[in-house]
Amino acid sequence: MPFKQYEVVGRRQPTVLDPAPQIYRMRLFTKSETQATSRFWYFMHKIDKMKRSTGDILAVHEIRERKNDTVKNYAITIKYNSRSGTHNMYKEYRDTALVGAVEQMYAELAGRHRARFSSIHIVDARVLPSGIRATKRYDVDEDGPVAPVAVKRSHMKQLLKNKIAFPLPHRLVRPTSKAFRTTFKASRPTTFFG
């Protein structure tokens, strides 16, 4: 089941003392609407003295991205609890949609740090500039006192080169369908395909 992006709007229930309570809006990456509202209350509880039984959900929408056939650079800032402490992290990914980048982040955190969904908080998830601005060097005269947002990680920068080219040095020919898979081969497979 893929991740989706939801926008949840909620507030504390109006009371006589507070007839117009503050309204909050939150962007959440979850797999369902139910999970999104649940997550909304989880975070709201940390921010303000609010809980589900004394609150209202005013709206839940899925945020969809319009165009999914261009590759973009994404940056995700997270906070996660490991077995020994809390860590902040900044990660960059390339994908066609923000939810894809979030999916990659959860997979990486699970693989590298054994961190699950429940122990990860996404602090920020945004699109980075692409093209020439993605790796533009900071120039005070041109850019002003604040450095522009750019791709930071070297594993990302290497993919941004305009004339990117790399070989596939070792390949195993895959059967064209799962039905043709075999455990044993009659002959040693070729792995070099230039």
């Binding site: 261009t70 993919l159 305009n162 080219a165 790399f166 020919v173 064209t176 395909f193 230039g194």
Partner: protein, 166 residues
Amino acid sequence: MGPAPARNASTSASRALHNASKLTASPVPSAKMTAFRRFVQVGRVVLVNYGPDEGKLAVIVDVVDQSRVMIDGPSDDASAAVRRQVINLRRVSLTDFALKLARGARAKTVKAAWAKEDVSAKWAASSWGQKLAAQAAKRAMSDKDRFVAMLARKAAAKKVRAALGK
């Protein structure tokens, strides 16, 4: 099936030489990489070898990361067209052909470059393309086709025997 030099080539060096003459626009990025002729690069024509588009040709229009690329396979024939999509490199094979494309080229540009280089015809003429076409033709044969082929084979064998005086 394939051109004679390819069949007779016993060393990889002679095979590389033969294929090098067929390259359309395949720049070699650096001297270090001369052992390789096919690169994951924008414009590289690939053959999809797994999944719903198996057996179709497409071209790399963008590199997502080290294992995934975005491909697009323009064709007037809907059954040969490949929708623009991100695909894992494990699901494609790199071919000798490369088009001149800018990163993230639009469908229209890709189609024009494809037509200009005449990729479909070049592929059909290549030994790889011919091999796949022959396999497909054989798979499509009916019982009668196989019977006719058998008769033709017998007739040919008879002539060979007669010519050899046996």
